[in-house]
């Protein structure tokens, strides 16, 4: 019964990658955003269990898309 489940392997959960600070600037520059406009994501989100995140971090999400094959999406971490 006491098995540790790894939800990142679940089919519904896409790959989450923590974006480094230098890369973060590149992302906000190409999208022409200040960073605050990015879609948000709760710090307590279960899919972030393996990543060490803090407020304001940007997470790169590589989704499997039916239309485009793979798409990249960004979310900003908020605490509540």
């Amino acid at each position: 019964m006491a098995k540790k489940i790894d939800i990142t392997k679940h089919l519904l959960v896409p790959k989450h990658v923590l974006v480094s600070d230098s890369e973060k600037k590149k992302v906000t520059d190409t999208l022409k955003l200040s960073g605050k406009e990015l879609p948000r994501m709760l710090k307590t989100d279960p899919s972030l269990a393996d990543l060490k995140v803090k407020d304001g971090d940007v997470i790169k999400i590589i989704r499997d898309s039916k239309t485009a094959g793979k798409t990249v999406f960004y979310r900003r971490i908020i605490s509540s």
Partner: protein
């Protein structure tokens, strides 16, 4: 991948690149890729296009043709599922308690071949004490209840009388005491019998009936079904977290249809995917034709704040910055009164408030402003 196609890796989506490579002879790939790139750019949505409006129409119009209340049978047994328009409304409103929660449980390799599938399913199902009892004998002289047990059923699930006693102690330990008798049944006595009467005994009997014994809480019905070449278990009622913890369950494919539960267990991105899958499933089942991009847009909107927000006045609409936009949706007086009480300012940055004031709206050609800098 072909050298020529690598140039387009940043500009064209992966699925298009794969299609070109697959269908096109290597000698012509350069020409084809260039042509595809041109077509792709032409097909792109222009900046400022009112995509939300197009999506709303594209989902709304087929919605009018949907059968109002279709229940369909998931397989053979008498299990009904909310489908059709009520289901779409349920998902898009972001309801916390859906009408028919369900799970699809995939099993790991030796278990999914169909052997003992019914027994596995029975172990998942939530069992209460009433299911294992053949007969209640109420002894009004000694104020006790004798329970005759359904031993065959207990053997199938692997429940021993000791477990039943433990379950009774856990749930009603303060009120009754129970022990095994010689015939393999149970005897339940009221505690502190002096001040208790027959009424309490009857009440205790009713309570005994619904004492939780084993299985996954919330799973009220089970249905083993063969899908393609493996057996899966469909359940009514859901408890995804507990199910994923079981060791014979394939934790990569097992899902439920409760969007909130998915958000809680698997995260917001999984919830977004689940919204898309669930809405598309309904539309597909009704043989309607809605482009999946419209549903993706709705799902993205619902999930952009990190939590699921329904398309209601408590959800995404309450997040709008403009008072007039909020007031134009539902309960206008409430919004206007609250806004005037705190002195809210409306910057008229969005569409609805400008429509209300008879001004050009910032969509399409109304979006760009004058780019020239005035030299002073």
């Amino acid at each position: 991948m072909h050298e020529e196609l690598k140039k387009y890796a940043d500009t064209l989506p992966e699925s298009i690149l794969n299609e070109i490579e697959e269908k096109c002879p290597a000698s012509k790939i350069k020409k084809v890729a260039a042509r595809v790139y041109k077509e792709y750019c032409d097909a792109k949505i222009d900046a400022g296009e009112a995509v939300g409006l197009v999506s709303a129409e594209s989902i709304g119009e087929p919605g009018t043709q949907m059968t109002l209340n279709t229940f369909h049978f998931a397989g053979v047994a008498e299990m009904n599922v909310t489908m059709g328009l009520p289901r779409i409304i349920e998902i898009l409103d972001g309801r916390k308690n859906i009408a028919t929660p369900m799970m699809e449980i995939f099993l790991k390799s030796p278990f999914n071949k169909g052997k003992d599938i019914h027994n596995i399913a029975m172990r998942i199902k939530e069992s209460v004490l009433g299911e294992f009892i053949k007969e209640y004998v109420i002894n009004i002289v000694d104020l006790k209840i004798e329970l005759k047990l359904n031993l065959e059923k207990m053997a199938v699930i692997g429940v021993k009388p000791a477990l039943l006693i433990k379950a009774i102690d856990k749930a009603l330990g303060k009120e009754v005491s129970s022990k095994e008798n010689e015939e393999g049944g149970l005897v339940v006595k009221l505690r502190g019998r002096d001040e208790k009467g027959l009424n309490d005994l009857y009440k205790a009997k009713e309570k005994l009936r619904s004492v939780y014994v084993c299985g996954i809480k919330g799973v009220s019905q089970i249905l083993p079904v063969k899908r393609r070449d493996e057996f899966i278990i469909i359940t009514a009622g859901s408890n995804l977290k507990k199910i994923l913890d079981l060791d014979f369950v394939d934790e990569t494919r097992t899902t439920c249809n409760d969007i909130y539960e998915i958000q809680k267990v698997l995260g917001i991105e999984a919830a977004r995917q689940a919204i898309i899958d669930e809405v598309f499933k309904v539309i597909e089942a009704q043989a309607l034709n809605v482009d999946i991009r419209h549903i993706m847009l709705v799902a993205d909107t619902m999930c952009s704040s990190g939590e699921i927000k329904g398309i209601t006045r408590y959800g995404v609409v309450s997040e709008k910055s403009s008072v007039l936009a909020r007031a134009s949706f539902e309960t206008p007086i409430k919004h206007i009164i609250n806004a005037s009480l705190v002195g809210e300012i409306d910057f008229l940055n969005s569409v609805v408030e400008n429509v209300m004031l008879n001004q050009p709206v910032p969509v399409g050609t109304g979006l760009p402003g004058l780019l020239t800098k005035v030299i002073k």
